[in-house]
């Protein structure tokens, strides 16, 4: 992601292009969900590796608020991308730990 791919605030929206070689689509979506109270993300169809994303703001939002939301989004996206890699690596271990945790319970007999 570089500055050239972030559009200007037009009073309602900011358009950006996200490189899917740097960020997973799942991370893009989750980061968007987290900032839903500040703006709505509209995801377009990917063009090669580029994903067009439109940040839409409530009427009356000023430019600095909008730009701050986009900055916060990309900060969150970095974290989300890191989370995705952690989850990917540890998912089998989490399943194993949970299986081990409940292997000796008597939930069925209790019912």
């Amino acid at each position: 992601m570089n500055d050239e791919t972030i559009g200007a605030f037009d009073g309602r929206q900011i358009r950006v292009m996200i490189d899917l070689r740097s960020y997973r689509l799942s991370a893009v979506k989750k980061a968007g969900y987290r900032i839903a109270a500040r703006c709505t993300l509209i995801l377009g169809s990917p063009l090669e590796h580029d994903l067009p994303v439109t940040f839409t703001f409530k009427p009356g939002t000023d430019g600095s608020t909008a730009n701050e939301a986009v900055r916060a989004y990309f900060q969150e996206l970095l974290d989300q991308e890191l989370r995705e890699s952690v989850v990917e690596e540890t998912a089998p271990l989490r399943a194993l730990i949970l299986a081990q945790a409940f292997s000796r319970t008597d939930l069925i007999r209790r019912g």
């Binding site: 989750k30 969900y33 987290r34 900032i35 839903a36 109270a37 974290d79 989300q80 890191l82 989370r83 890699s85 952690v86 989850v87 690596e89 540890t90 998912a91 089998p92 271990l93 989490r94 194993l96 730990i97 949970l98 081990q100 945790a101 409940f102 319970t105 008597d106 939930l107 209790r110």
Partner: protein, 486 residues
């Protein structure tokens, strides 16, 4: 025959990498310079962004202090970790154990009648003379039968209203009948009366002493504030409550009465005076509660103004005051913080029903309403008073225990609100310290799961836990007091 290998991953997939291997973890920003990293059993560490990246990218030096700390708290394991996975599994099982115990708290709404006219009343009280809003003995008998179907070894019966002492005859009958039935069932029973104490008399006190019954009352703060928020004919609500507290302490025992405060826009501005009142009245605990979005509180528009931000400021100021009281030598515990601290530091977490995943509705608490309806929680019946019956499980004498406890009204919200599979919650570092609140989100967003980016509950939890962690980490004096509450 299918070879067994097709169904199992290779053991090498679970073995530590040559350097080290990550264990499941979640992280998020605590403040501008620190991240909080947690695991499924509530262990936590604070790291800088660089340290977090180094951990995830396996660049941590194995001889560093940070590496040893992360290994000791189960965030990574290596070839020297003999039993990291077994230990984590054991800790996870301990924290989840209460789910298997099933419903412990059973609330009996003995009447909707009340002699107070509190502005924030969450249960839509009725006039004192309206006896058609009293629970009948047939329903009480069926409720007891229902309660003993729970496999929990500990059963708490809480009597609520309205004002439950206005139907003391039935209260007495339920206690005696429960004890009678318990000769067969052999559970540990506990009785609690949630009362404003205005109708406390010698009969009630003698009965409470005989059966070791606890009282939970409302004390909103100093006299002016209490009487303004909890009006009663003759404006003597405060006097009667204080007199009741003293009589219970003398007749039943000092530990048999506790008090709760309910915040309003007015009280949010005077948390110090409220805390001082609790100290003056000899209490050693106070619960800085937030206002639920139910009942008269909504009709009187008390929830909108009392926003989450305002409540968080109230909580933070209150916590500081409570710490100061402790520094001065008077032990005083804040209950909401204590619940969070138990989740942070106790191997078993906390059994507080409103902060569980799966949610505590039905499987942690049940409500038998005055009219025989069964609700999945106290808040669920408050919601019903607002004509939303989403969490009404059925009716005593009509629907069976099995039908109600396996009803869609219970199982659907339980399944759909598990934090571990909820958007935003599933990767939130505060998950081990939080809980699902389907009734709150149904009330505020018409959806049991709710969108957490718009959730006052989520904002409150995040704000309070962040503040508590900051105090724990940055203030050794505060840490000493806070840890003493667990």
């Amino acid at each position: 025959m299918t070879p067994i290998r097709k169904h199992f991953r290779s053991s090498s997939e679970f073995a530590p990498a040559p350097h080290y291997r990550l264990l499941p973890l979640r992280f998020g920003r605590l403040d501008q310079r620190r991240y909080i990293v947690t695991n499924d059993v509530g262990e936590y560490v604070l790291l800088s962004r660089d340290e977090l990246s180094a951990l995830v990218e396996r660049r941590l030096p194995t001889d560093s202090e940070l590496y040893r700390a992360l290994k000791a708290r189960h965030f990574l394991f290596d070839e020297d970790s003999d039993c990291a996975l077994d230990l984590l599994a054991l800790k996870y099982r301990s924290r989840a154990d209460q789910v298997a115990n099933f419903t412990g708290l059973h609330i009996f709404v003995l009447t909707l009648r009340c002699d107070h006219s509190c502005r924030y009343c969450q249960v839509s009280r009725q006039l004192e003379s309206a006896t058609s809003f009293d629970m009948q003995q047939e329903h009480a008998e069926l409720a007891l039968e229902f309660m003993f179907r729970s496999p929990s070894p500990n059963l708490k019966l809480e009597f609520q209203g309205g004002e439950p002492l206005l139907n003391f005859k039935l209260l007495r009958w339920i206690v005696e009948r429960a004890l009678d039935l318990n000769r067969t069932h052999r559970r540990r029973l506990q009785f609690v009366i949630a009362s404003n104490l205005a109708n406390l008399n010698d009969d009630v006190l003698a009965f409470a002493r005989e059966h070791e019954i606890y009282f939970s009352t409302s004390l909103d703060g100093p006299q002016d504030l209490h009487d303004a928020q909890r009006p009663r004919p003759n404006r003597d609500g405060y006097e009667r409550t204080i007199r009741g507290i003293e009589r219970i302490r003398a007749a039943v025992g000092p530990s048999f009465v506790s008090a709760l405060m309910t915040p309003t826009q007015t009280s949010l501005g005077c948390v110090e005076q409220i805390i001082d009142e609790y100290v003056a009245r000899g209490f050693h605990s106070i619960f800085l509660r937030s206002l639920s979005p139910f009942g008269f509180a909504v009709r009187n528009r008390l929830t909108g103004g009392a926003s989450t931000d305002a409540w968080l400021a109230f909580y933070q100021r209150g916590l500081q005051r409570i710490l100061d009281v402790n520094y001065a030598g008077y032990p005083l515990r804040e209950e909401y913080s204590t619940i969070l601290l138990q989740k942070l530091f106790s191997p078993r977490g906390s059994n507080y029903v409103d902060l569980q995943s799966p949610a505590g509705i039905g499987i942690g608490a049940l409500v038998f309403n005055y009219d025989g309806s069964v609700y999945a929680s106290d808040e669920a019946r408050m919601l019903a008073e607002m004509n939303d019956h989403s969490f009404r499980l059925g009716r005593l004498g009509v629907d069976s225990y099995d039908a109600m406890m396996t009803s869609d009204a219970l199982l659907d919200p339980l399944a759909s609100t598990l934090l571990e599979s909820s958007p935003m919650c599933s990767d939130c570092p505060y998950l081990p310290f939080c809980g699902a609140d389907p009734v709150f989100h149904q009330a505020t967003q018409r959806d049991p799961m709710g969108h957490k980016a718009f959730s006052g509950f989520c904002a409150k939890q995040m704000g309070a836990i962040s503040h508590l962690l900051t105090r724990l980490e940055d203030d050794p004096h505060a840490r000493r007091v806070l840890q003493s509450w667990v």
